[in-house]
Amino acid sequence: MIVLEKRPQPSRAWSMSTPLVAVLATMFFGGLLFAALGKNPVEAIETIFWEPLFGEFAFYYRPQLLVKGAPLVLIAIGLSLGFRAGIWNIGAEGQYIMGAICGAGAGLAFYPVEGWFIFPIMVIAGALGGWAWAMIPALLKVRFGTNEILVSLMLVYVAEQLLASVSLGLLKNPEGFGFPGSRNLQSYASAHNAELFEGTGMHWGVVGALIAVIFAYVLLNRHMLGFHIRLTGEAPRAAKFAGVNPARLILFCLGLSGALAGLAGLFEVSGPSGVVSIDFNVGYGFTAIIVAFLGRLHPVGILLAGGLMALTYIGGEIAQSQLGLPAAAIQVFQGMLLFFLLALDLLTNYRIRAARKEVA
């Protein structure tokens, strides 16, 4: 019989290597899945992992990695702080939408005035939009003890309805020939989150994501607030004993993750997307949850995981178009990654041991 035995100390070696082992296991079982679909598994894996980075059209795909990775990292960093403290914001998708609506709305309010001050105002409005949306579950939890998982998740659907409403009404392009969707911010210079260096995919959102990584790292490792966040997640009673105010921590964690998700939405709507439209959101807010865990809730890990996730997205699209793999197979593949990561995570704190049958 096989038993799990708790390690006296969390294993550092396993903690570092589980993401790698999980990726390898995903490649292997994903390969089996693709083989079962009648595709050449080696070719499929190569298309997903190799093609975007070093393939023939890598010059096009590499900037896409930054464009896809930045919002994932930005959102996941915010979520990870809450997850560390046991505060589960599942509604980043909604906060992302609200950030985009508020940020784009603030910019379009100035149209057609040009000025250096417009983009910073949009950034602030975007962050505030996401923050305010996240404060709803936060305040309800602090005041009435509601479950933040349910409330934040349900608010995603409310945000989607709002998005549809403003796309068809408030923010609709008056010169858009009746089509839904706002003016294109890409053609409004003061509000355009343009590439900082031509052809690199590097826009302000990427800068924001990197700053968020550094900020989160310093917060968690060098600051009392970060220590309290970790303490609350590991031993809530000890945190209370240490003097942590749980309500303030909930407001901080949900507020910050909302603000970062809002920023991600703003950078997306003012840059790569350009338009507030009904189908603006593509699930970054949910994928960021996977990214946060894949990165083991560690800022540097999240940076790497965001890159990896962006890679599977882009590689997955290439595989869809070149090999005719169904989109669902790519989603299963991404799901496998999270599954293996969480399963292998167990080995950090437990070891597997073959044992005689013994009742204990």
Binding site: R222, F227, R237, F241, V359
Partner: protein, 505 residues
């Protein structure tokens, strides 16, 4: 010579890194009360788990009435007439007594029959118990009766009791002993595990002493002094804590008219608690576990907030202050539950040193942490309190209970508190370390700190405290000077026998 009921021969059990039992042999006779003595970690629990079929020995054999006996699981042990009352009760608070007992049976009879059998057994042995009462409402002594009756319903030949008196008042202990003596008179053997020597001298016919997993001696307790048994247990001569005669200063901590509901459902509300502690004074608070100890500690640590002037430090109201503000004023606390409350299990000792030390040790500036200073603070605790660990980077959960306790107490003591509140400071700690902790508490008091020591170990309280009060169902008795208090008086302060009656022998 008659065949013993149970004969253990060369039992050995090793766990990774430690030999829990090393070639242990002894016999338990029919109708004998046999004591198993030893410090925490001496291997008593492992030994009885082998007898009860929870753990399989690596080598060695057991004979039950001359027949080979090797229970693969507790069910087999119970079928052979061996029953056990655990130190920690496994009862469901929300169910009633009969339901709890039925849960532990293979084929529970209909509830009505079971209830009448419970009444019958409980009356025979002087352990009155209403089968339909909810367990959540019972005192610790009554809960123990549920466990004992659960065993007696099986009509056992050998009853194993693991530290049964640790949760009882002196009067309840007396009643338990009468019950056990009645059982012995009927021919039931009892294996009695304890480290309370006086108890063993009153009750037991024979004693086996374990130290570091080995059988280091047997004796007849009635003919051996408690001190001799203690030295066999510990292996060295014991050091009794010394205290100098002290003068008390002004009032350092003052609680008046404090009533708070418990934050947990089956907790105990504090009702109109008054107490004062002067500088240099050690106030001992006794009482059976679950009578408001955790709540009292929470009120003092700042985890439970009260009306501002219900709790005062040197005349200043602190009832509304949180834990950090109170630490700044010098009110430090050490809760009973080490893992998860006093310390975060998966965090390093350095991080755990930061947990309460940040304010007084200046381990942060503008919110930024000084890890180097924190590490050296952790190292100071480890050194001063002889915490056995390779270093401060190790996780708290990797320490043994006693070592972690030394760390937790040391962390507060080294911060030079004005008022120190400790709950169960030496619980689960070996005798030498317990003596060191008590000495540290006394030293702190002689330097002028006020100390509140909440404990269930009456001997400990008598040893270190200047005055004594007891918690009973959330009420605190009026404190009295320790000198001259008799065991009977203490027992009455603790709430007497909680309505128990003596066995009708």
């Amino acid at each position: 010579m008659t065949t013993p009921l149970l004969s253990l021969q060369g039992l050995t059990k090793a766990y990774p890194g430690v030999v829990a039992n090393d070639n242990v042999s002894f016999d338990i006779g029919e109708g004998e009360v046999h004591a198993l003595l030893g410090e925490n970690g001496a291997g008593k629990s492992t030994l009885v788990k082998m007898i009860y079929g929870l753990v399989k020995p690596d080598s060695g054999t057991m004979l039950l009435r001359g027949q080979p006996y090797a229970p693969p699981e507790p069910r087999a042990a119970r079928a052979d007439g061996i029953a056990m009352v655990f130190q920690h009760f496994s009862l469901f608070d929300a169910l009633n007594v009969a339901e709890n007992i039925a849960l532990g049976m293979e084929n529970p009879p209909p509830m009505g029959d079971l209830a009448s059998r419970i009444r019958e057994v409980s009356e025979t042995y002087g352990l009155p118990l209403d089968p339909y009462r909810t367990v959540g409402d019972l005192s610790a002594g009554e809960r123990q009766r549920v466990e004992i009756i659960r065993c007696l319903l099986q009509d056992p030949k050998l009853l194993i009791m693991d530290e049964p008196t640790s949760v009882l008042t002196p009067q309840e202990v007396e009643i338990l002993f009468e019950t056990l003596q009645k059982l012995r008179a009927e021919g039931t053997s009892i294996l009695y595990i304890s480290h309370k020597l006086e108890e063993i001298r009153t009750l037991c016919d024979h004693a086996t002493i374990l130290r570091l997993g080995k059988n280091v001696g047997e004796c007849t307790p009635r003919e051996t002094s408690a001190r001799d048994m203690a030295e066999l247990m510990v292996g060295t001569a014991l050091q009794t804590p010394q205290r100098a005669g002290r003068d008390f200063g002004e009032v350092a901590l003052d609680i008046s008219g404090l009533s708070v509901p418990s934050p947990t459902e089956f907790g105990t509300a504090l009702k109109n608690v008054h107490l004062t502690v002067r500088k240099g004074e050690v106030l001992g608070i006794g009482g059976v576990a679950g009578n408001g100890q955790d709540e009292l500690l929470g009120v003092l640590s700042g985890e439970i907030q009260t009306a501002a002037d219900a709790v005062k430090m040197a005349g200043q109201p602190v009832g509304r202050l949180g834990p950090t503000a109170r630490r700044r004023l010098g009110l430090l606390t050490a809760p009973e539950e080490r893992l998860g409350h006093a310390a975060a299990p998966d965090m390093s000792l350095t991080e755990n040193a930061l947990l309460t030390g940040s304010v007084r040790e200046g381990l942060e500036s503008n919110g930024f942490l000084k890890w180097n200073d924190t590490r050296s603070f952790a190292e100071r605790i480890i050194k001063a309190f002889d915490v056995r660990t390779p270093g401060p980077e190790n996780a708290a959960r990797s320490l043994s209970g006693g070592n972690l306790q030394k760390f937790v107490i040391g962390r507060e003591v080294l911060q030079n508190p004005e008022v120190l509140v400790v709950n169960q400071p030496t619980w689960g700690v070996d005798a030498a370390a317990a003596a060191a902790i008590r000495q540290a508490i006394l030293d702190l008091a002689s330097k002028g700190a006020a100390v509140v020591c909440i404990s269930q170990d009456l001997d400990e309280l008598m040893e270190i405290s200047d005055s004594f009060a007891a918690l009973n169902e959330g009420r605190l008795s009026a404190p009295r000077p320790t000198t001259g208090l008799t065991v009977e008086e203490i027992g009455l302060m603790m709430g007497g026998a909680h309505g128990m009656e003596v066995a009708h022998v």
